[in-house]
Amino acid sequence: MSDRPGPPDATRQWDSDRTTFQRVYDLLVGTTEPASARQFAEWADCSENGARQALEQLVEMDIADSTGSRPALYRRNPSYFRWKRVETLAREHGANTLRARLEELISEDRKLQEKYDVPEPDAVVVADEPAENHDMLHDRWDDLTEWRTIRRDITILKRAIHRAESSKDGHVPSKT
């Protein structure tokens, strides 16, 4: 996959369909560790200056975080993406639907607490035993990532329910 001449078709299509700003945005969304404008330029196949302008604009919109160091490093602003998800959930689902799903998540969380006999995923002792087979490790990794997802979503859903209830009829108005 690596020694092919030029980028694959899907990359070329992305390059031609999306503007520099849109490509930098697409990349920023998946960037949780700080990266330089030069790195973004390389990923987005644009000039470093073009990447920096897009990133500075995204910082202004509160979508990106900047370290303010030299050179500045950028990553997505996690609170913006949490807020966006809360708003989407509150808008697309009523408070009752969200509450029912929240109950399911709380019950799944309880089952994982019982299975591992600890209160939270980070308290599970992971032995670095090379003898453990891959399937077993993979199953436990599945459980732990699912548990972290459940924990995060419980917080998000509580906020979305609150948001939906704070509007008159239990629904957040659609975007205009």
Binding site: A10, G30, E33, W43, L157
Partner: protein, 143 residues
Amino acid sequence: MTGRTEGPSGPLDVSTLEILAQRAATHPLCLDWEFRPDSISPRVLEIQLDDAQYPSFVTAVRVDVRWFVGGDYTVHYLEFRPNETWQCRWDRHPKPVGPREHFHPPPDASSDIASTPLESDHHLDILFELLEWVEDRIQTICE
């Protein structure tokens, strides 16, 4: 990815999966996508590929993508046939020995790990490499 954490994997990264779904949707190989079990608290992004581009014994083709905060992932390719599922999987997750990135080869995504991971370092490149791999796969299976 630059400075990517080598600690435990984070929760499912729904925002990144949405971007992957939207960019996959513009590709001619992709028919549709959805979050399972639902869009309220997803566990996996299912991308339906166009089985019309495959020989008739392949009844459906799907890619299941899970992407986690911090950059770990599983990308699971499934080709459904009347009596079996031809499948393989690319993973990036913590392991006490061996590379964090590894490949579970076809036809059954065996637990015998092979060292041919997707080599890209960001989410979209992994999607594009995967789509390119699917194009090669269609050529091979149609020969």
